[in-house]
């Protein structure tokens, strides 16, 4: 029989708690038998985790489903709310907003993307915005929500959603889950990583209390510190700060005020941007900025001035560098979470990149001899994911008309990756979007952001213009009517949560 048992990984050590560590522990424990593989997670209470409110994208549903987590139970525990998309305020220019919804705009017809029909009709005087044809955007603008209808013929099947959650509570929830499945937790700080002199593999990590934890396989979930993958193994870092110049963030939680929003708000500011993420009990706010163009003090003032409710916490600050590791999996160590790389949370991709790190690892699950053919493939796939997310985020900065500050002047004029340049040019010519396969963001997402940021195609696809205008207009009218009608009949987001998954007071 293939895969001789003595080659199996027997001891997996995860260093670092937080979302990355506990998501990894939970996912592995859901698949592995604790009698065969021992999983240990080392975390220290002394090291805080990051995150006051975290937004996600719909892929998180798959992760929770894989773990068999009941949605309502998880939402109560993580004080989670629903998210239908992101409102971008002042990004194209001050005073202008657009909505990037999950799911599709309208319905594609005859093999041609919906947005081509919209461009055609818009060019002939239809004043409706493209987001008016998205059920998610329409429900969001009314602060309404309901779960999608599994019947594909129903308009309500077009709802796609993710969550806003309290990442610390999510981690705690997963910690209980993993604990039940045999993951052993050690509450100590790691002070040294022991490498094998010959192979360069990690043999063990030494704890502050003097004991050592040995393993065949290590996960570095130590956040920006990258204790294993960088400090011990020195794999190197791709610095992308010339494309994504923000390097600091300040975050603060506030009380709710006004209705419970089923979407994230990302507002562009003079030297960065500010997020607003509502969980069930509070609103997470953060200001991300470039520290060489704005002092920390000014950032704090700006953050506090942009709040819509009284603060519950004091502003906390952190510094970061955008980019990713040159190698995510090196020897017997895989970096997951912030230790793997950081892209600002403009499109809520942090948890997604953790998930990718875990699911790719699971699909490539190695033997204890770590064949290079496995690690190479992992590094190729993860590198590609990081680049795809990076390019999509750069688009938000690059495509802007803002010229009110040094920050926006820099972004507007910066050189961007070639592949992104080509995408923008292609869209500008005739609204064409070519999605690379396996790309995270869908055609609808690219269209929403390109149009929202002010990239207007010169014309629409000539093939659409062969259709009679009246026919196109009437299809669009009936689609819009169906979407609006469906959105109006939904319960409010707050009502829905109250009934479905209220967090303990």
């Amino acid at each position: 029989m293939s895969g001789a048992p003595d080659l199996f990984l027997r001891r997996i050590v995860i260093v670092g708690g937080g979302s990355a560590g506990w998501m990894t522990a939970a996912a592995l424990s859901s698949l592995l038998d604790p009698k065969q593989v021992r999983i240990t997670l080392v975390e220290s209470e002394a090291i805080g985790t990051i995150g006051v409110g975290e937004a996600t994208i719909p892929d998180i549903l798959n992760f929770n489903r894989l773990l068999g987590i009941p949605e309502a139970e998880f939402m109560r525990a993580a004080q989670a709310t629903f998210k239908l998309g992101i409102e971008f305020v002042d990004w194209k220019k001050q005073g202008r907003s657009y909505f990037h919804p999950f799911g599709q705009h309208g319905v594609d017809m005859q093999g041609i993307d919906f947005h081509q029909y919209w461009l055609f009709s818009h060019a002939h005087g239809n004043p409706a915005r493209i987001q008016d044809y998205s059920l998610c955007a329409q429900a969001a603008s009314r602060n309404r929500f309901a779960l999608p209808d599994p019947n594909p013929d129903s308009v309500m099947s077009h709802i796609r959603y993710a969550y806003h959650l309290d990442a610390t509570r999510y981690a705690q929830f997963l910690r209980v889950y993993a604990g039940k499945r045999g993951v052993k937790r050690i509450g100590e700080k790691v002070d040294l990583v022991n490498l094998d002199g010959e192979s360069g593999f990690i043999k063990s990590v030494r704890l502050e209390n003097g004991t050592a934890v040995h393993g065949d396989m290590f996960f570095d979930c130590t956040g920006f510190r990258a204790l294993l993958i960088e400090k011990a193994l020195g794999v190197g870092f791709h610095d992308w700060s010339h494309w994504l110049p923000c390097d600091s963030a300040q975050a603060v939680a506030t009380e709710h005020s006004g209705p419970l929003l089923p979407y994230t708000v990302a507002a562009a500011k003079s030297a960065g941007w500010q997020w607003r993420i509502p969980t069930q009990t509070r609103t997470g706010n953060g200001y991300i900025y470039a520290s060489d163009l704005m002092s920390d003090k000014d950032a704090t003032d700006n953050l506090l001035a942009g709040l819509d409710g009284p603060t519950i916490t004091d502003p906390g600050q952190l510094r970061f560098r955008t980019g990713c590791r040159k190698t995510f999996w090196y020897k017997n160590c895989v970096a997951i979470g912030l230790s793997a790389g950081f892209l600002e949370p403009l499109e809520s991709t942090s948890i997604f990149l953790i998930q990718e790190g875990i699911s790719k690892f699971i699909s490539l699950f190695p033997n204890a001899d770590f064949p290079p053919v496995v690690t190479e493939e992992y590094n190729r796939q993860l590198g590609l994911k990081f680049e795809q997310v990076r390019d999509f985020i750069i688009l938000h900065y690059k495509a802007t008309e803002r010229d009110d500050s040094a920050f926006w002047n820099y972004c507007r004029n910066m050189a961007i990756p070639d592949r992104l340049t080509h995408k923008i040019e292609l869209f500008r010519e005739a609204g064409r979007v070519f999605r690379y396969e396996d790309e995270l963001f869908s055609t609808s997402s690219w269209v929403a952001v390109m149009l929202g940021q002010g990239i207007t195609p010169k014309t629409c696809d000539p093939i659409v213009s062969t259709l009679p205008r009246r026919q196109v207009d009437s299809s669009l009218i009936s689609m819009r009517r169906a979407v609006t009608r469906a959105a109006e009949t939904l319960p409010t987001h707050a009502q829905f949560i109250q009934k479905y998954c209220p967090a303990a007071a």
């Binding site: 293939s2 038998d33 496995v374």
Partner: protein, 478 residues
């Protein structure tokens, strides 16, 4: 604004030209005028498009206005569950490269891991399209997911010459100008082509020129676009009448000097042979260069079909690429005389479509103990991407996929197993599954497929009844 594209000239008279004309005449607005310069004799290499399509052809033909009933009534096309490779690189290597929907997964374990190591059976024992193909039976796969036949997919067995004529007759009812002449000279300047002089001394002008002139690529060549050859072979073909039964598979027999493909369309058998160029017993053939143009879109000239690339018809790759060429063009019809953005995207995707289709062909020849003869040795070619595909499969049974590949994950799994590649390490989670459970599930699956196949009619019976029905109901063009 720049000058808009109003006139399109398609240069060529073979399958590529008429498929492109059919697609464009259906998609483009009436303001754009479409002309076909039907150059005599450009169809002489059309047999190199192969005689077999993948399942994607159904939707594509429909899109360009040739429905399945049209196709069956206008030509002698038959159905195809795939290709049966026999004595492939060694006397004992044979398998059915069938078309199939995604394999079932069980308990999060992909099927290939589930069955590998548990049984001596071959993958094709569990694939209904392979079993039906071997028995010579056919029926349309139903939609009800519970019936085993619903997992099958099918393409077509066809004659390129007939298909070309069928398209001509479909297009003739549309608003399109046809001129039949030789090209005397292609006039170019620094931006591209500014006119084509025909043998009757007319100067044809257009905003966009489409080169469908076959492997010579008369237009691209005039623009100094180099051809990158991959290898040279000798090919010959012939058609002979044949009586039923007609298997719903193309047969490809390997030999030391090359291979011979047999395709039964209704009433005739097309035999196609490929060997190395020195082949003595193959004097009647023509020498063919496989390879591609360095660019398929230069200035105001874009190529489809053989003018862009000539690929080995050992698999359905040639028809897949032709379809991709046309779809790529439809998605990128230029709006004005500045076509640099469209050209760049077209060339990017052309490059990767060709590379990825070619990977599959190269994988067919990637045999460690291949015969030590010029044909098999010249066909060996393993770049990084192919090495990754094979090593990932052999090491862990992991399917590596690249952007927008024409051949899907099932095609690749069937190929790997068919060629005798083995998965060294099964999926970790497959090791944990209950073996008795696996064995009994596999036995049940095999049995239900065997029963299904027993109930299906012979291919030729099914097809004659279908055509009689279409005629009676007057469905499709005749």
């Amino acid at each position: 604004m720049d000058k808009p594209v109003k006139d399109i000239l398609i240069c060529g008279g073979g399958l590529a030209a008429w498929i492109t004309a059919a697609a464009l005449s259906r998609a483009l607005p009436d303001e754009v005028s479409l002309t076909v310069l039907d150059i005599p004799d450009t169809d002489k290499f059309d047999m190199l498009y192969g005689t077999v399509t993948a399942p994607a052809a159904y939707g594509f033909f429909l899109e360009i206005g040739l429905s399945e009933p049209d196709l069956l009534r206008l030509t002698h096309t038959a159905f195809s569950f795939g290709t049966h490779y026999m004595q492939w690189g060694s006397p004992s290597r044979s398998w059915v490269q069938c078309h199939h929907l995604p394999f079932p997964a069980r308990d999060n374990v992909p099927f290939v891991h589930y069955f590998t190591g548990r049984t001596d059976a071959r993958l094709e024992d569990f694939l209904v399209s392979a079993q039906a193909g071997l028995r010579g039976v056919f029926a349309h796969p139903p939609e009800q997911a519970r019936i085993p036949l619903s997992r099958a997919e099918y393409g077509y067995l066809f004659s390129p010459i007939e298909l070309c004529n069928a398209l001509k007759s479909v297009v003739s009812s549309r608003n399109i100008t046809v001129k039949a002449h030789e090209i005397r000279c292609v006039r170019t300047n620094e931006t591209g082509i500014f006119g084509i002089e025909t043998a009757d001394e007319k100067n044809l002008q257009a905003d966009l020129f489409i080169d469908c002139s076959g492997p010579d690529a008369k237009l691209l060549t005039a623009l100094n676009t180099a051809f990158t050859p991959e290898r040279e072979v000798r090919a010959s073909w012939q058609c002979l009448p044949s009586a039923p039964p007609w298997p719903p598979l193309r047969n490809v027999h390997g030999s030391d000097r090359g291979w011979t493909a047999g395709t039964s369309v209704r009433g005739q058998k097309i035999t196609f042979q490929i060997s190395d160029t020195d082949s003595e017993h193959h004097k009647s053939g023509r020498n063919i260069l496989f390879g591609k143009r360095e660019k398929a879109w230069v200035g105001n000239c874009v190529a489809t079909g053989h003018a862009a690339s000539v690929i080995d018809p050992v698999s359905p790759a040639p028809m897949m690429l032709l379809q991709r060429d046309v779809e790529r063009l439809l998605g990128l019809i230029p709006l004005s005389e500045d076509m640099t953005v469209e050209a760049r995207e077209y060339n990017r995707r052309f490059e990767s479509d060709f590379e990825h289709a070619n990977l599959f062909n190269q994988a067919l020849y990637a045999i460690d103990d291949a015969p030590d003869t010029p044909f098999w040795q010249q066909a060996q070619s393993r770049g990084d991407k192919l090495r990754r595909k094979i090593s990932q499969f052999e090491n862990r049974g992991i399917p590596v996929a690249f952007d927008m590949e024409s051949f899907n994950e099932e095609d690749w799994s069937i190929l790997h197993f068919g060629m005798g590649r083995k998965i060294k390490n099964r999926n970790f989670f497959a090791e944990l599954a209950d073996t008795r459970d696996i064995d009994s599930n596999l036995a049940k699956l095999k049995q239900s497929i065997a029963q299904t196949v027993l109930k299906m009619p012979p291919h030729h019976v099914y097809i004659s009844k279908l055509i009689a029905y279409l005629e009676r109901k007057n469905v499709g063009r005749a």
